[in-house]
């Protein structure tokens, strides 16, 4: 039952070292070949930008994080809810599934400008965009998780009760948790991308807005700094999901072929 944060740190330690080496090499190459700052800025310049208080990074980063988390959270509730509807009865499943699939295959990004027209130029369309990209992986992984419940486990429960709710809460949901978390990990990384895309379309703040603004000024360091922060946000969100998984699903099998 390893719920502490230390295994996480130990696991990513080597990657951090590799990353630091990568940054150093980057710095050296940019200086050695005298690559212009507006093409590829050196890491030192990007770092300076990140540390520049006039850029208002905390506000910008919080905006994007807020949109990502809200959309992601709504997608969890609605996604798992949809999955429950799908397993609840054959009838629901035949009605609901086609809609879920259609929602995934329509080019969602193409509709983002429309969302702003429908919902106004505020947070709502941006959160909605995040929701749209997060929703499908959660539904699919939850339904797959439900189906992975051992059939005899279902028999066991049915030998005591015919209540579907008991079946769901005592067997299906716990059995599905490892699979649900797999879906959440996919979704949470998409969430940040969703927020970014929505901010590209319309916004007055957020990291997507900063990147868009920097483009018109050919300000590569700002764009790189914003991208770096996006990576950090994405990583932190992903790690929180992983940490949560360790706490909630301690019985999960981790398969590793070799040491």
């Amino acid at each position: 039952m390893n719920g502490s944060i230390f295994p996480t740190i130990r696991r990513y330690g080597p990657s951090v070292v590799v990353f630091v080496i990568f940054v150093i090499v980057w710095q050296i190459l940019v200086e050695a070949f005298k690559i212009p700052v507006y093409l590829v800025p050196p890491p030192s310049t990007i770092l300076n930008k990140i540390l520049d208080p006039s850029m208002n990074w905390p506000t910008q980063a919080m905006t994007t994080t807020y949109e990502s988390l809200m959309g992601f959270g709504i997608a969890i509730v609605v996604g798992i809810g949809t999955a429950i509807l799908i397993v609840w009865s054959k009838g629901f499943s035949t009605i609901v599934y086609p809609f879920v699939i259609t929602m995934q295959i329509v080019p969602k990004i193409a509709f983002v400008p429309l969302l702003f027209i429908w919902f106004g130029f505020n947070y709502t369309p941006r959160i909605f965009t995040v929701f749209l990209v997060c929703y499908f992986p959660i539904v699919v992984s939850t339904v797959a998780g439900f189906s992975s419940t051992e059939p005899s486990m279902i028999d066991l429960i049915r030998s005591f009760t015919s209540s579907k709710l008991d079946l769901l809460t005592k067997a299906l949901l716990p059995s599905a948790l490892p699979s649900i978390f797999a879906g959440l990990k996919v979704s949470v990384t998409l969430a940040v991308i969703g927020a970014l895309v929505a901010e590209f379309v319309s916004s007055t703040q957020g990291l997507g807005f900063v990147i868009l603004a920097s483009q018109s000024e050919l300000n590569a360091p700002v764009a790189f700094a914003a991208a770096a922060l996006l990576i950090v946000i994405g990583f932190l969100l992903y790690l929180s999901i992983e940490l949560l998984e360790r706490l909630i699903v301690p019985w999960k099998n981790v398969v590793v072929l070799g040491k």
Partner: protein, 252 residues
């Protein structure tokens, strides 16, 4: 003794994807008296699990009837404990919580049953492992938890589907003795399905011998071993003779 479970001309055919029908059970009729230990033996695939599932109400029979204490299955208060071929413990629950599962599913007050749960865990020889999770228990220990769970709600009848088949010889023989002790302590009516002849003869008052698929009852053999059953029974002459007789009937 009253009849606890009565199975009358039961048959079952499955609808399959390839063929239209598949006869699993031809026709099975036998009774289990209250307090009896009855074993059903038959070759693999003859429909033993199917039979237990029908008794437990998990499958509809194609024909025939089942009654508990003279009341037909549909109207009877279903009070059955099942031990499946695999222990089927929930990995997210510790031993105690697994044993308490029936109480939760029957929506009874868990706190009132804590003592009974502890007693049952002791009965199956797992005292001290209440907090252990299934992953931390050996196969044999997991089966013990499954047996305690099946007894938790004090069922009238305990159904067991080859509960020991997956165990090694040494654990298995120990578990058989322990199961006999559980039976003597609880005086439960037990229906055990197995393809282990020695096990069936050692444990039962009666062995029901099934044919291969579609199963019919080939013979009902009453076992009378005079006195206590235990480790020494395996060397007993009458015991060996009974085993021979079952083997012979199966081969016919």
């Amino acid at each position: 003794m009253p009849t606890a479970l009565s199975i009358l001309e039961l048959s079952k055919s499955y609808e399959t994807k390839t063929k239209d029908r598949m006869d699993a059970i031809g026709s099975i009729t036998f009774d289990v008296n209250e307090g009896e230990f009855v074993s059903v033996v038959g070759p693999s695939g003859c429909g033993k699990t199917t039979l237990l599932k029908i008794i437990a109400g998990l499958l509809e029979p194609s024909k025939g009837a089942i009654s508990f204490f003279g009341v037909s299955q549909n109207n009877a208060m279903k009070n059955i404990g099942i031990v499946f071929q695999s222990p089927l413990l929930m990995p997210w629950r510790n031993a105690l919580e697994n044993v308490l599962l029936p109480i939760e599913l029957l929506h009874k007050d868990k706190t009132k049953y804590l003592e009974r749960a502890h007693d049952l865990i002791k009965l199956v020889g797992l005292a001290g492992f209440e907090e252990a999770f299934p992953q931390e228990l050996s196969g044999g220990m997991q089966h013990r938890v499954a047996i305690a769970r099946a007894l938790m709600h004090d069922p009238d009848i305990l159904l067991m589907d080859e509960p020991l088949a997956a165990l090694d010889e040494i654990t298995r023989e120990q578990m058989e003795i322990d199961l006999l002790r559980v039976w003597e302590d609880t005086k439960k009516t037990i229906l055990l399905v197995t393809h282990n002849i020695a096990e069936a003869v050692l444990m039962s008052n009666k062995v029901v011998i099934l044919s291969s698929r579609p199963a019919i009852v080939k013979k009902e053999l009453y076992i009378n071993l005079h006195g206590k059953r235990g480790l020494e029974t395996r060397g007993d002459q009458t015991y060996v003779a009974y085993c021979q007789e079952v083997r012979h009937s199966l081969a016919l």
